[in-house]
């Protein structure tokens, strides 16, 4: 159990730099999720922590030790791979015990640890099978079992759920969460799925193009995205981003629709500033169908192009400023395409980003 520290970590492939000097402190027993679109450097970062990729520059330490030059086996970490990487020529028992056998642990010790891991993950019945005889979820469990038998300093997960079907993914997600509560350890988890990130993480690290965009708890990242990328990446359906201009105390869209500037953001903007308005679908709700109807509000008459029924809520496709904008209708009723409705906008939840820097105006 240890903290992990990344200091100005850079990774080059030849002349191509894929990770540009990132800094990250992961606390003891913390569950940190690296999330971002493919090619953002999250897997490379994880593999550098594991020692599977050389570090071009910077420093990584696990616990008190700088591990830059240590091979994976000396870092005392364990890793769950996307395709599980179970050894096909070994039984589940041998797969689980392999790491301990390599470390020349006694047979009794190996048996005890394997038994312990099998119990935690419910693998007792499967110990004598080979990986080929297991289902996807069972393989996933064996891969996790292989990680926990060694009582490592940290678990690394590389998109472990992306090969599972949707239902199993949700189930395994909760199992991973429970596992972390049972086996308290530092976890670094890589995924491209923001839902996984939100549900699992103590802290989320949002990455893009080899840079860290934002680090924070799921709530922080969701409620205070630092830029338009994080804003649109976290949350589903994604946040609506609409360009506009500040004119006095109003935000004016190109089609001259206007909204009052939210009181809490007044001090952060200046007259004539080009901005992007960020509005989550949850905060654009038809009159009488919102969750929270208090606070500073504005209303707008909008035409619904399409209604997508999800059961407890309906996603409404409408247009502001000629741009497709999504709203949500809670406690829904039947909506006809083309119907004009009065929408409430919760101004307390609205985000404003500078059009030029794409950064939240709150950051100056």
């Amino acid at each position: 159990m240890a903290e992990i520290k990344l200091e100005n970590v850079v990774k080059n492939y030849g002349k191509l730099e894929v990770v540009h000097g990132i800094n990250l402190d992961i606390a003891h027993n913390e569950f940190v999720v690296l999330v971002g679109p493919s090619g953002c450097g999250k897997s490379t970062t994880l593999r550098m922590i594991a020692g599977l990729e050389e570090i071009t520059d910077g420093e990584i330490s696990i616990g008190p030790q700088v591990v830059n030059e240590l091979p994976p086996r000396k870092r005392n970490i364990s890793m769950v791979f996307q395709n599980y990487a179970l050894y096909p020529h070994m039984s589940v028992r041998e797969n689980l015990g392999f790491g301990l056998k390599i470390a020349k642990q006694s047979d009794a010790m190996v048996e005890e640890r394997v038994g312990e891991a099998a119990e935690i993950l419910g693998l007792q019945e499967l110990l004598d099978r080979t990986p080929a005889e297991l289902s996807g979820g069972q393989r996933q469990r064996v891969a996790m079992g292989r990680a926990i038998v060694r009582h490592p300093e940290a678990f690394l997960f590389d998109e472990p759920l992306s090969n599972l079907d949707a239902k199993l993914r949700v189930q395994m997600r909760t199992e991973i969460k429970k596992l972390h509560q049972k086996v308290k350890t530092t976890v670094v988890y890589v995924t491209h799925d923001q839902v996984e990130a939100m549900t699992l993480a103590d802290r989320i690290v949002v990455m893009k193009d080899g840079w860290i965009e934002q680090v924070g708890t799921p709530m922080e990242v969701f409620n205070h995205p630092v830029n338009t990328f994080v804003a649109s990446f976290i949350g589903s359906p994604p946040m609506n981003l609409i360009p506009a201009t500040v004119e006095g105390a109003e935000i004016v869209f190109a089609d001259t629709t206007r909204l009052p500037v939210p009181a809490r953001l007044e001090s952060h903007i200046s007259d004539g500033q080009k901005v992007i308005l960020g509005l989550r679908p949850d905060d654009l709700t038809p009159e009488g169908h919102g969750i929270i109807e208090s606070g500073q509000k504005a209303s707008m008459q909008l035409t619904v192009d399409l209604a997508e029924l999800l059961g407890t809520e309906t996603i409404l496709y409408t247009q502001i400023n000629g741009q497709e904008v999504l709203g949500k209708m809670f406690d829904p009723r039947e909506v006809e395409p083309g119907e004009s409705m009065s929408f409430n906008i919760s101004l307390d939840k609205v985000h404003l980003f500078d059009a030029e820097t794409q950064k939240s105006v709150r950051l100056g």
């Binding site: 050389e54 570090i55 071009t56 520059d57 830059n68 030059e69």
Partner: protein, 307 residues
């Protein structure tokens, strides 16, 4: 580049490992192939004869090349070799394709058929040559015996003596030996073929020929090119066959580049000249291989193969 790399000796660095692993392979090929080839390149510019060792230092410039390029026999052998390869490879491809399609249709005993099909591939070329020398023998060969027994011919047909027939016989032996590599790889291609495009084409209204022409064949081409590439690696195996069956004779009628090289080099001991010819044959082989290898790469891209 950075402080990390400086502390590790260069031969333990990650980027050096593959070269370390490849070192034995590179060394042995350097020693047994590249170095001798450089030596023979030199020799091809000398008047070296085996019986007169000091002639190794007798520099003659391009005289060997001039001599072979103005020699009608060389050009006959060269032309015959190219013709031989073209006919043999095309026949092998066509037969291989036919056989693959045939076996693909058959469900019962397919594995056995496939195994039997592989046997010729594993035969020593020298055996194939011997086998057909025996079969095509004008006096006691099974072929003439059979023709006579069936009353189709009364005389002894000189399969290995007549100019055209001898060429036919060695092509037959070559095709017999090497068709299976095409058949097997194309069959593997047929097995790997996804069903969806076939069904889509049928739904789109293609007749069986159109399906074959526009879907199956393009999919099979990379497999055909692998076979071609593998084949072009050892086209010169035909030397063994010809050497046993006719020895290039009678009177040079089945002389290929390779048998000519052996004759000039070892029998006439004109090493310099033989090496000049050898270089022509090497370039010919490389040209064949390179051509098919490029085709293979192109076909692979077209199929969207991995990097």
């Amino acid at each position: 580049m950075s402080r990390i790399n400086k502390s590790i000796p260069f031969w333990r660095r990650e980027q050096f490992t593959p070269f370390l692993l490849l070192m034995p392979a590179i060394l042995i090929l350097l020693l047994v192939v590249l170095l001798p080839l450089l030596f023979s390149l030199y020799t091809s510019f000398t008047g070296y004869r085996l019986i007169r060792p000091d002639s190794l230092y007798n520099w003659v410039g391009f005289r060997n090349y001039e001599r072979i390029f103005t020699n009608a026999n060389f050009w006959y052998a060269f032309g015959r070799t190219v013709l031989f390869l073209t006919i043999a490879l095309n026949l092998e491809f066509l037969f291989g394709l036919g056989i693959a399609l045939l076996i693909n249709k058959i469900t019962w005993g397919q594995r056995t058929l496939r195994t039997i099909m592989m046997f010729p591939m594993m035969f020593s070329p020298i055996l194939v040559g011997y086998q057909f020398k025996f079969i095509f023998n004008d006096n006691i060969g099974i072929l003439n015996n059979a023709l006579q027994a069936l009353g189709l011919s009364d005389g002894a047909i000189p399969w290995l003596v007549d100019k055209q027939l001898a060429m036919f016989s060695i092509i037959f032996a070559e095709v017999w030996m090497s068709t299976s590599i095409f058949a097997i790889l194309l069959l593997a291609g047929l097995f790997a073929m996804p069903r969806d495009p076939l069904e889509a084409a049928k739904v789109d209204g293609c007749n069986p020929w159109q399906v074959f022409r526009h879907i199956t064949l393009p999919f099979l081409m990379p497999f055909a090119f692998i076979a071609m590439t593998i084949r072009s690696l050892d086209v010169a195996r035909a030397y063994d066959i010809v050497d046993v069956m006719t020895g290039g004779g009678p009177a040079g009628r089945t002389e290929l580049l390779w048998t000519l090289i052996a004759r000039v080099g070892y029998d006439n001991s004109r090493m310099g000249q033989a090496n000049a010819m050898a270089y022509v044959s090497i370039l010919l082989s490389i040209a064949f291989t390179y051509y098919f290898f490029r085709k293979l790469i192109a076909a692979r891209r077209y199929m969207g193969g991995a990097d």
